[in-house]
């Protein structure tokens, strides 16, 4: 299973999870795990998603996510899980 980590950070407002999940569904990306918290008024969401069934290129998916972030004024990042394993595991 090829996995990616999607982080969404920004001012809290309703509907962010729905919008991000909709983009995942459109691209046939399966959300494996999701966690979110609101610190003061900052919204932090982290999704672990399975991208093995992706129906577009990874670049296109990550561009869609980024475009969503730019539109909503959020910091949205799509990063391969290997980066976290490399940096934080020996």
């Amino acid at each position: 299973m090829k996995k990616t980590v999607i982080t969404v950070i920004g001012k809290d407002r309703c509907g962010y999870i729905a919008s991000a999940s909709a983009i995942c569904a459109q691209s046939n990306v399966n959300i494996v795990d999701i966690t979110q918290s609101v610190l003061e008024d900052m919204f932090v969401m982290v999704m672990l998603a399975d991208i093995s069934g992706l129906n577009c290129t990874f670049g296109e998916f990550s561009d869609k996510m980024r475009a969503f972030g730019e539109k909503e004024g959020l910091d949205v990042r799509v990063m391969h899980e290997d980066i976290f394993n490399a940096m934080h595991r020996i």
Partner: protein
């Protein structure tokens, strides 16, 4: 699932602390391009570079998007061109223009290797190449030159040192209308590493494989931020730096192996250097200040830098399968916001920088000196720096920029990663002319006899 804190830490490093891969550099051997006809030689070079590195930029961008890590530069280093000049003869500037053409077609931002290795003496092609450096740097934009004039094993070639003082000045003179950019692309080395991915000093050594991928990591901002949270003694400071360097290097290792896999080229080394940029929050000087110095350049700076440099290596070495290049902290004045400020305020002087180079990687780097500095003084600066490298078995280098027509209080601005800097005072009251004019070779020190 991966720990949430770990995810947030990485995201913060990238979004707020300027963590990035500074460069993916492809080293390409040009030995099989040598031809007795210079035009044929140039054509072969162009063909080989564009074939090998054709996909370098696109693969770099692909990795950038997939992993979410900024990869700032994609670059190429090649076999020292003096070796090709030795075979073909002719005007070395032709080679520089060929490299420029190859840089433009591949889309890389620098190509290094307009170089000569003359630490023990000149062989065919070397002198012609060195003398052509000013013209080559003026006629091209993305080509970098370097010359190795000394080593622990062979001593210092003082004839080359004398020649390079003149070359540095000339390179500045003919690019006066472009803020003297010429010498900003020329590094004079002692003990030059053959697998360095950083510019302007990168070249592809003769002992290297045909083609190889080397990676240079960065992250002064990440180290400074980690230190902000540390109130402990210097032992703890070293621990924090080690842990941070480990994480940064792991990222470099991952990107390097991935790039090498996708390009089908063997992976060479990760260069564990802390390379600053003029951006705020990406400064090595600010790390030293975070350790407790008022300003970089005050007494204690050398000790703080020694601690930093050592901790970076200790942290990084376990994170990578193969470490090489320069591996240490860089202190290029015009490329570091904290150093620029310290030089402007007069807290950071060239003498202090020289002392600092004894304990960190590289040397007197990106320092703007007065326009009336004579060639023999530049040669003497190179000789001093080379002596530090030779005796301490380490790499040292000089990249000074004479600001033609300008003096103390004025500034040069190169733009981009090369930054900007004030003219720093140089001791011009007395002259080293007679010493430099003697020429010859400073013999190798006792340290060279290790066998």
């Amino acid at each position: 699932m991966i720990n949430l804190n770990d995810i947030m830490e990485t995201v913060t490093m990238i979004s707020h602390e300027n963590l990035d891969i500074r460069t993916i550099t492809m080293g390409i051997s040009l030995l099989d391009c040598a031809d007795s006809d210079i035009d044929k030689s140039c054509e072969k070079i162009y063909k080989k570079i564009t074939e090998k590195a054709g996909k370098l930029v696109s693969v770099g961008e692909e990795i950038e998007r997939e992993y979410g890590i900024p990869i700032i530069n994609k670059r190429i280093s090649v076999t020292p061109i003096a070796m090709l000049v030795a075979v073909s003869g002719g005007d070395p500037v032709k080679y520089a223009k060929t490299l420029q053409r190859a840089a433009e077609s591949t889309g890389v931002n620098f190509i290094g290797g307009f170089s000569a290795l003359v630490h023990k003496g000149f062989s065919a092609g070397d002198k012609a190449l060195i003398e052509a450096i000013p013209e080559a740097l003026s006629a091209t934009e993305n080509v970098c030159a370097s010359v190795n004039i000394g080593s622990t094993k062979s001593g210092i070639n003082m004839d080359a040192v004398r020649l390079l003082g003149e070359v540095v000045r000339r390179a500045a003179e003919i690019t006066e209308d472009r803020d003297c950019i010429g010498p900003a692309k020329l590094v004079v080395f002692c003990n030059a590493p053959e697998d360095n991915p950083f510019m302007a000093g990168a070249f592809h050594g003769v002992g290297e494989p045909d083609c190889v991928i080397n990676v240079g990591v960065s992250g002064p901002g990440v180290v400074a931020s980690a230190l902000k949270k540390c109130d402990g003694d210097l032992g703890e400071v070293a621990e924090v730096i080690k842990r941070t360097a480990f994480k940064i290097t792991r990222m470099g290792q991952l990107v390097g192996t991935e790039a090498s896999r996708r390009l089908g080229v063997p992976f060479g080394i990760v260069d564990l250097s802390l390379a600053p940029t003029p951006a705020v929050g990406d400064s090595v000087a600010h790390i030293l200040e975070e350790m407790g110095l008022d300003v970089c350049g005050t007494h204690g700076t050398t000790a703080a830098l020694a601690l930093l440099n050592d901790a970076v290596k200790k942290g990084g070495v376990m994170a990578s399968s193969s470490v090489g290049g320069l591996s240490g902290a860089f202190i290029p004045v015009s490329e570091d916001a904290g150093m620029i400020a310290a030089a402007r305020s007069g807290d950071l002087k060239i003498e202090k920088l020289e002392a600092m180079t004894a304990v960190c990687s590289v040397g007197l780097d990106m320092i703007v000196i007065p326009g009336d500095t004579p060639a023999e003084v530049i040669s003497a600066i190179i000789a001093d720096e080379a002596a530090i490298g030779m005796v301490n078995s380490k790499t040292t280098a000089v990249r000074v920029i004479p600001a033609i027509g300008k003096s103390e209080g004025e500034e040069l601005s190169f733009g981009g990663l090369l930054g900007e800097g004030p003219v720093m005072p140089v001791n011009l009251k007395s002259s080293p002319k007679r010493f430099i004019e003697r020429g010859g070779r400073i013999p190798a020190p006792l340290q060279s006899l290790k066998n």
